[in-house]
Symmetry: C2
Subunit: 255 residues, 2 copies
């Protein structure tokens, strides 16, 4: 196979949601990200320099999917400022049905998180802290956006993202079997609150926070207190920071 | 005053370290960031649309510093993909001497943190958790880099960054009066470790972590445990995530 102009166009189209929907493909770049995703997703193309292919001979890859290309060619399909020596194109998995055995797990729910870097970071945090499922409102940024994929550093291969049409309804149905947490500026100090080992933790949009509709199904409102605790909170924490601190605190209780 | 071509060039030069050194100026964009920095730094220019100036009449600004400009003109000097209606240019403060009364405080030290977004986020975390001083190795990214300033969302006005020529020496001299902490993959579980209310917390470079030289002056090696704690840690946490979780844990002990 070669990197034809037609194939270049397909890969370039993966930057947009439209392109990914039309092709059911997504892309990842760089050795670390590609190697971590190879065992997790079905490979469609692996485009790499001769040097990279020589250096990674021990990696198990269907040779029919491999395309050798020069750095100049890779530059044409790369989404990065500094293109790497390898780009992989994978099939977007279709099995995104919400597992029905979630009730003993810790699950993150995202209400319209918009920034790809934030979403990627949240997926990385979930990976670190053993959170295997994320429920995302339909209007959360696409987890196969190349910027999200890169920001996960490969963690997208180990954490499942389930998009749902109606986040508040989905959470409401889960609330029968597990507590629903969210962080709010008027919540209860998370360090003093009762936290369970299972539950849904809802994180909101970067500007608007958690929507009123989703807020109504939250059973436990938490606050990450500033220090000192009575300081005037002119600021709020970024959503990925808040996720890191919240999930860490849930897990700390389980040690 | 008007936004002359010469002034445009000066402001455009503030994207680079060289430009900031030559002029001793830095820039900030957008209402939130500009309004938070106005009380903290000496204003040199405030460039804004008529509309913005009308909407912010109550803001106390030396009118000699104000330049009205159209959106097209602001676009020329903006570093943002989506320019805002206001750009402020401030003097870089010269008083960056390390305070000598640090020993009762919690201080963050950064060993060659390179990514502006990470540094900005770390400054924002410090602001939230009442950490007022950051010590940075000379080769840490410049805190007046516009990408850092924007990522702080204004917190750079409340947290002081002190660059030092020799980070390990600076930390060594502090170690006489306070403990020195750092996070390592082979450290002690932070949730079980003794943490004091004062101390220096060292965070390392994105790829290389804490340098050997700086590592040698650390008195307490900490680990943020993954979950479950014995899981294979193929990943590491991003430096700003690790800072968030670490500082949160120090402050939690003080509540």
């Amino acid at each position: 196979m070669e990197l034809t102009n037609a194939l270049c166009k397909i890969i370039q189209s993966l930057e947009t949601m439209k392109g990914r929907k039309q092709t059911s493909l997504f892309m990842a770049e760089g050795t670390k990200c590609v190697l971590e995703l190879l065992p997790a997703f079905e490979l469609e193309y692996l485009i790499a320099t001769r040097q990279w292919l020589d250096d990674n001979k021990n990696v198990s890859v269907n040779q029919d999917k491999v395309i050798e290309a020069g750095r100049g060619e890779i530059k044409k399909i790369s989404q990065l400022t500094t293109p790497r020596d390898v780009v992989a194109v994978f099939k977007i998995p279709t099995d995104s049905v919400l597992p029905d055995n979630l009730k003993s797990e810790l699950v993150i729910a995202l209400d319209r998180v918009q920034d790809p870097g934030n979403f990627g970071t949240i997926i990385r945090i979930c990976d670190w802290f053993g959170v295997h499922n994320i429920i995302a409102s339909f209007d959360t940024v696409d987890c196969f956006n190349p910027k999200v994929v890169q920001a996960t550093m490969g963690a997208i291969g180990r954490v499942k993202v389930h998009y749902v049409d109606n986040l508040s309804e989905t959470i409401r149905s889960l609330s029968a079997s597990m507590p629903i947490y969210g962080t709010f500026l008027d919540g209860e100090n998370i360090y003093k609150a009762q936290l369970s080992g299972n539950g849904v933790i809802v994180m909101g949009n970067e500007g608007a926070g958690i929507s009123d509709e989703v807020g109504r199904v939250i059973t436990s409102r938490l606050l990450i207190p500033p220090y000192p605790v009575d300081s005037e909170t002119v600021e709020s924490l970024n959503v990925s920071m808040a996720t890191a601190i919240t999930v860490a605190e849930f897990r700390r209780r389980q040690f």
